[in-house]
């Protein structure tokens, strides 16, 4: 079986084809860098994405930016966003600080992507 994948690693957007046998990757073609091969092999088996979104601190209307420190399964993005709404860390929040550890059991931590002093 052949899977056609567009790499999202950089703006080039290489069109990569991955030849599969069941869940096993046989051949990867069309990538212009090693990262593309890595991405395509993962994408063919279990698509992963870096989560980026917003979180609110205790007693604050304005949000602050957060991200996952590694990719999480693509089908968990909506759940991640919903989960983050359940928690309100205290200010100040510092860039790089873990604001939600091991989200949804993915092993990925949600970290602040900006400093946020509060309102």
């Amino acid at each position: 079986m052949k899977k056609e994948i567009i790499c999202i690693g950089c703006p080039t957007g290489c069109q990569i084809s991955v030849e599969m046998e069941g869940a096993r990757v046989l051949k990867i073609e069309g990538n212009r860098c090693p990262k593309g091969a890595e991405y395509a092999a993962q994408e063919a088996v279990e698509p992963m994405r870096v989560f980026t979104g917003l979180m609110r601190a205790e007693n604050c209307e304005k949000p602050f930016a957060v991200r996952s420190d590694r990719p999480v399964p693509k089908n968990k993005m909506l759940e991640c966003a919903a989960e983050l709404k359940q928690r309100r860390p205290e200010t100040p929040v510092h860039i790089g600080e873990i604001v939600f550890a091991d989200i949804l059991g993915t092993g990925a931590n949600i970290v602040a992507a900006q400093d946020f002093e509060g309102e």
């Binding site: 567009i6 790499c7 950089c10 698509p47 304005k62 930016a65 860039i95 992507a113 900006q114």
Partner: protein, 330 residues
């Protein structure tokens, strides 16, 4: 107020302006001053919470906010003077150099500089440019405005959203609207293909199953106080609507992502020659505009796809401006 004296004045504290300031400082120019109208440095990066920034500059996949944090940190470390909440109203050339008029909460004042870098960024093409007939209800936003409301202020602009145009900001916002609990009913693109990056089509549109219609535009907006629906219509090869193809989509919000224009009112008022195609100033190979000692870089010169390219250009232009300022001092 007394005039502020500086060697190099940089108008705009986004990535281009900061990069130019750092480069000029690195070339030994002591007095570098950034004038920024908003309350913080960073420019549009402050509202870009998505990743994909800095692959070239830092070899890392950063969010816009993380990228901005690094540049703002470098500016602080280099001791670059910044005037925030300061709006430059005009500038002109005189015998000594360039005189800028600015206004801040303290009032109006002048800045006297040997050289100036224009790093004023770009703005979005608004609805008025599109000539969409219909009423004028609330609920029509440009994508960047919707992005600012959500990411900086915390307001989601609507619950049932149609997006016109498939520029990158529109695609990025489509995903974010969904993550924040809104529905994105359709993206309409008048051309045969998107002007956005292909990776954004994949990770923002296809990942979330959002319908993206090519050769389609919005032909009418309905609603008196608030948007109630829009008509989508197919267009022919001359981009004229094909009668009978209208499809009404009930929605509460229309988001426009139909292109960016370099922001050059200041340069225009100063009599600097602008290029009709890019919307930016005409520059020499050293990025000097038609006014001696005034340079331009970043999205005010032309709209760049990548912040990494803006940073690189800002660095070069900062060096050129530094050379000019130094020659004035000799």
């Amino acid at each position: 107020m007394e005039a502020v004296q500086t060697d190099l004045a940089i108008i705009g504290g986004g990535c281009a302006g900061i990069a130019a300031a750092l480069a000029a400082k690195g070339k030994g120019i002591e007095k570098v001053l950034i004038l920024e109208r908003s309350p913080a440095l960073g420019g549009v990066l402050r509202q870009c919470i998505h990743n994909g920034f800095g692959l070239h500059t830092f070899g890392e996949d950063l969010t816009g906010t993380e990228f901005a944090h690094r540049y703002v940190g470098m500016a602080r470390e280099a001791g670059i003077r910044c005037l925030l909440r300061t709006f430059v109203q005009a500038f002109r050339r005189n015998e000594e150099g360039i005189e800028l008029t600015a206004v801040s909460r303290e009032g109006q004042f002048s800045v006297e500089a040997k050289a100036v870098v224009l790093a004023t960024g770009c703005r979005e093409r608004p609805r008025g440019n599109l000539l969409i007939p219909g009423t004028r209800p609330a609920g029509i936003f440009t994508a960047g405005t919707a992005q600012r409301y959500l990411n900086l202020e915390g307001y989601l602009v609507g619950k049932r959203i149609v997006i016109l145009g498939s520029g990158d900001i529109g695609l990025i916002m489509a995903r974010q609207f969904i993550l924040e609990g809104a529905e994105v009913l359709a993206i309409a693109e008048i051309m045969e293909k998107s002007g956005g990056l292909i990776r954004n089509i994949v990770q923002c549109v296809e990942d979330y199953g959002i319908p993206l219609y090519y050769r389609t535009t919005v032909s009418r907006i309905y609603g008196r106080d608030r948007v109630e629906a829009v008509d989508l219509v197919t267009v022919d090869e001359n981009r004229n609507p094909v009668p009978g193809t209208e499809q009404r989509i009930p929605c509460d919000t229309l988001v426009l992502s139909v292109g960016l224009i370099p922001e050059n009112e200041l340069a225009f008022d100063a009599g600097i020659n602008l290029n009709g195609k890019t919307g930016g100033p005409e520059v020499t190979e050293r990025f000097e505009t038609s006014m001696a000692g005034v340079f331009a870089c970043g999205n005010s010169l032309f709209v760049h796809d990548l912040v990494d390219n803006v940073a690189k250009e800002g660095t070069r232009v900062g060096e050129f401006a530094a050379d000019y300022a130094r020659r004035c001092m000799e």
